[in-house]
Symmetry: C2
Subunit: 183 residues, 2 copies
């Protein structure tokens, strides 16, 4: 008998169900730690390397090629605009995470998605960052995401799928951040 993999939205549904079953049998497999190392270059210009992580009960010491990502600032904010700025990188993280979460959870629910694109905007008032008004927040006042999704799913279904996004959760609910300074 020839069997073919059960793929939906580019997600191997058999593997996804297998992962869910494995986590239900052994809950500690669900603990992951992701990591990044950032090195300052100058001004707002820096570079991040992303290599190892911990997950499904073991260390994953490195990945083929590892990843190197830069950040900089736009020229009107005194940067050299050699890379996206951290606020734009947040939009990239959010858009990617919503999209991936929708593809995975649609697949798990038998919903086919043919195409997805999104436009993200975030507005900020620099009175916060510049320290000119303590009442103004330093980050985005809000982020708007406009999705175009090619699917038979209803808007309510798509919205429910999007709510599984970890980055959406991290932004909309407080995420504790501890900062230590080592000698």
């Amino acid at each position: 008998m020839i069997t073919t993999a059960n793929i939906k939205n580019g997600v191997n549904v058999d593997q996804l169900v297998g992962t869910i079953n494995a986590v239900q049998e052994n809950p500690s497999l669900a603990n992951f730690e992701f990591r990044a190392k950032n090195n300052w270059i100058d001004g707002g210009h820096c570079v991040t390397s992303i290599k190892d992580y911990y997950g499904v009960g073991e260390e994953h010491p490195s990945r083929e090629g590892d990843f190197t990502l830069e950040a900089d600032h736009v020229e009107v904010l005194l940067g050299k605009d050699q890379a996206p700025n951290p606020a734009e990188i947040v939009l990239h993280a959010l858009g990617s995470c919503l999209t991936g979460a929708m593809a995975y959870h649609a697949a798990a629910n038998g919903i086919e998605i043919e195409g997805m694109e999104s436009r993200l905007t975030g507005d900020v008032d620099l009175h916060g960052f510049l320290g000119l008004d303590p009442e103004v927040r330093k980050g985005f006042n809000g982020i708007n995401v406009k999705f175009k999704v090619k699917s038979d799913a209803s808007e309510d279904q798509l919205r429910a799928l999007s709510q599984f996004s970890p980055v959406f959760d991290m932004l909309t609910k407080p995420t504790p951040v501890t900062i230590e300074f080592e000698k």
Copy 2:
């Protein structure tokens, strides 16, 4: 008379003071909108393009070369690991933002920084994302940042500088995210 630019930590302090003065004279210059466009490829693999933005009272229609960034998932989470995952991208955004904010605000306060590096970790329990336990959050339970900063500044001073980071603000305090589905 020959004058040289007043550069500290790679930041042009004269321009920084000029920006602060300009915003104080014309508060609307402080309004920025950053943007990103995300296109799904398949599964958790997608690509973001970052081009235009609005700021200091005008549109900036594109930048030299624009920026293209990918996201994917690690193989144990059914991806092909062709790019960092969205959670790792959040660590990149946070590390870059803290570092840039410290460099800028140190410069504005006459504090010299010779070097900075940071290691970021974020821990997540997949029971949240997989929908296995509604009590478990989908994003990072917490993020830890370990900084090594070469500077005469005290730890208290460095910590105060770091608190100006917009991405630190976006993660630690709720950021409203609205999602629209267009036809």
